[in-house]
């Protein structure tokens, strides 16, 4: 269970006329992970089944339809379309719809273009409306030059001084002018205009009053807009009416094409095919039975090997030729709930190798524990449980499901630690505690600090987050040491499995001894923290761990070389890194306390508006702490696994097991 499922490599050989049936069986079984064939002598890649090209063409048309209709994901909980219905309607869906949609989309595009043209025309004519001249009057003179354009300042004074004969028309706010000048004076006029920031605007070659033209354009614009919205409405209706069918058809065709193109992934000769692939060892029989039922005796089946997890040592010049067992063999991630819910966290780094322990098992246990310890509050814990439960019920995407998993299981531990360990909810302790605001003082009832449960004295709060910081840091360091021990032992197991026990001892056991030495030294150092120089270096409590560390280092240096000395401070910093388990809890408690003090001790007793503000501050503050709890506890919790723990045993980079199978989202087989 800790390791990925055992895999067998199988070979299926048959004559080409059976390939279609074989493909069908393999897709229905959904167990065979094929190895993509790369061409070798005497064998060639297969060619797709004949129906592939027809299906591909249809698929192309459908996707074009989807794009035209702007079809996206259907609303949540849409009904599935049965495959038989898809099949019988496929041709009509595509052809009829295509004709209809093409027409509507064309109309839409045309109206859009017309609208754009009209708007451009209008923009051109607008400035001319304030000048009382018809358009044809702007051109067609033999001896007069006409300047039309926008100006930055009134050009009249400049023109008067530069030109003798001219006529000037200005728009109301004098930013657009039309100047009529005798040809002989055109150059002077232009200079005068340019001085005033003139930039030419071409006059449209039309006839009539600009005002009238603009009015006509506006009338047409309204008509075109109406036509556009009609077309859009039609498209939207087509979209809602056909969305389910189009998505279903596309899915159906994609599956058809994938199946029809399967021969491209395997080896064939003129008359035969060979499928090379991996099957979980437990399921080999099922595959064989499935094939037998359909093909009888007319095929050949062989189990090439049951993949061992040991890595062969390469000798001689062939080094590196044989592919890595761990990377090549597909890895089937566990499917047992609740551990499988945490698969997302492992996948975030990479798929495990075939010959190593699936770290999901560790994450599933210690990650919620760390999360809970960092949050450690009944109030937030309960909210997390509710959110996580809802998320797992409602969310369909993997990312949100992973986050929901963290909230649900982390929330359970947070509630537990909040109740027993810290005895607090929403940052306030239950039992009376000095001058601090507590649930006891808030409710006016004295809540007990412990309760007798069936003869066992169950405490409500052993530690106070803000006062017992040193104890919490100490505890966190111990959690770190145990977590790292776990990592080293898992690493030893992995290496023993791949290369044998000798390698495992040389590579990891030294580090286990070093860590053991550090673990023994930790209480000694903590006890003498105030006077570290006065430590008795001759006492057994110091000599034993130092000797352990030295022996451990010697083994590591022999196993991994001199560079492993550099990793010694790294291990120390790994342990210290776990103190964040306490630090984050403390910082959040401080934040919550501050908000609670402002809301309940300073604002609420003022009465009236103070109470309202107090409630607002309380809610906003608690929401802030809640969000920070998710972000910081989540990230730091998972980081302790990714950085500190995984370094000790996890390699990753495996191939994910993806058997031939049909995944249906919009269609149903029955």
């Amino acid at each position: 269970m800790l390791l990925p499922e055992k895999m067998s490599r199988i070979l299926i050989v048959g004559s080409k006329d059976k390939l279609k049936d074989t493909t069908e069986v393999l897709y229905n079984l959904a167990l065979v992970h094929p190895i993509d064939f790369s061409e070798e002598e005497g064998l060639a890649l297969g060619s797709p089944f004949p129906e592939a090209s027809d299906s591909s063409q249809k698929l192309l048309k459908l996707r074009a339809l989807e794009k035209d209709l702007e079809i996206e994901e259907p609303p949540f909980g849409a009904k599935l379309v049965p495959v038989t219905e898809v099949e019988s309607n496929l041709t009509s869906t595509i052809d009829d719809l295509n004709a209809e949609v093409t027409g509507v989309v064309e109309t839409k595009n045309q109206t859009q273009q017309r609208l754009a043209a009209l708007e451009a025309d209008k923009r051109l004519l607008m400035p001319l409306t304030s000048i009382p001249l018809d358009l044809e009057l702007y051109s067609g003179y033999d001896n007069i030059t006409v300047f039309t354009g926008s100006v930055r300042s009134d050009p009249e004074p400049a023109l008067t001084s530069a030109v003798k004969h001219f006529e000037l028309f200005k728009s109301k706010n004098a930013d657009f002018v039309a100047v009529f000048v005798a040809k002989g004076e055109a150059a002077e006029a232009q200079r005068a205009l340019v001085q005033n920031g003139y930039s030419e605007v071409a006059i449209p070659s039309r006839k009539g009053t600009p005002e009238l033209l603009v009015k006509n354009i506006e009338i047409e614009e309204a008509e075109v807009k109406q036509a556009l919205s009609d077309a859009e409405q039609k498209i939207s209706k087509l979209r809602t009416d056909n969305r389910a069918m189009i998505l279903a058809s596309e899915e159906h065709l994609s599956i058809e094409v994938e199946k029809a193109e399967f021969p491209l992934r395997i080896a064939t000769t003129k008359n035969a095919f060979a499928i090379d692939g991996f099957v979980p060892t437990k399921q080999v029989e099922k595959v064989q039975k499935g094939l037998d039922a359909k093909l009888g005796q007319s095929y050949y089946f062989e189990i090439l090997e049951v993949k061992s997890r040991k890595e062969e040592e390469q000798k001689g010049p062939e080094v590196g030729h044989e592919p890595d067992v761990g990377l090549e063999t597909p890895v089937k991630m566990g499917e047992k709930k609740p551990i499988s819910l945490f698969n997302g966290f492992t996948e975030l780094i990479s798929t495990p190798k075939y010959n190593e322990i699936d770290p999901t098992n560790v994450i599933a246990i210690t990650f919620p524990l760390f999360f809970g310890l960092m949050v450690g509050d009944v109030g937030y814990g309960t909210i997390f449980i509710a959110l996580g439960y809802l998320g797992l019920k409602k969310c369909t995407t993997d990312d949100w499901r992973t986050i929901s998993t963290m909230l649900l299981f982390g929330g359970i531990w947070a509630t537990f630690f909040g109740l027993i360990f810290f005895g607090e909810a929403f940052g306030m302790p239950f039992a009376p505690h000095g001058d601090e605001i507590t649930w006891s003082s808030l409710l006016g009832v004295e809540l007990p600090s412990s309760i007798d449960l069936g003869g066992i004295n169950t405490p409500f709060g052993i530690y106070n987050k803000l006062e017992d910081v040193n104890q919490l840091l100490y505890l966190a360091a111990w959690i770190g040491i145990f977590h790292l021990f776990l990592g080293f032992f898992l690493g030893m197991y992995n290496i023993a499995m791949r290369h044998g026990l000798k390698h495992a001892i040389m590579e990891k056991f030294g580090w286990i001894l070093v860590l053991l030495g550090m673990a023994i030294l930790l209480p000694v150092i903590v006890a003498n923290l105030s006077n570290i120089m006065g430590l008795d270096f001759g006492s057994m409590a110091v000599i034993i761990p130092v000797v352990l560390i030295i022996i451990g280092m010697v083994i590591s240096i022999l196993g991994e070389g001199m560079l492993s000395i550099l990793e010694l401070p790294g291990l120390l910093s790994n342990i210290l890194s776990y103190t964040r388990l306490a630090a984050i809890g403390v910082s959040k408690a401080g934040l919550a306390l501050a908000f609670n003090m402002i809301a309940l001790e300073m604002l609420a007793p003022m009465g009236g508006v103070g109470v309202v503000f107090g409630i607002v501050i309380f809610i906003v503050g608690q929401l802030t702490v809640l969000m920070l709890a998710i972000i910081s506890a989540g990230i730091h919790g998972i980081r302790l696994h990714y950085v500190e723990l995984f370094q000790k045993f996890y390699t990753g980079g495996g191939t994910k097991y993806s058997p031939l199978r049909v995944v249906r989202k919009y269609t149903s087989e029955r």
Binding site: E347, L348, I349, S350, N470, S577, A583
Partner: protein, 74 residues
Amino acid sequence: MVDIGSGMVAIGAGIAIGLSGLAAGWAEKDIGTAAVGAIAENPKNFGRSLVMTVIPETIVIFGLVIAFLLMGKI
């Protein structure tokens, strides 16, 4: 009234956490920039990028531990 010694210790604790926080942030800045780039190129890099980005955070944890130890002396 707090005596000068305790005040000095408190300032020391503040410096420990403040400077180590700055250092961690400084170190994380470049890694974070590169990480965002890597994620933009391929979202699958998210996990690895996250791991790389948070490595310098340990520095500030050291500062925090020292700060707590110093505060214990007041």
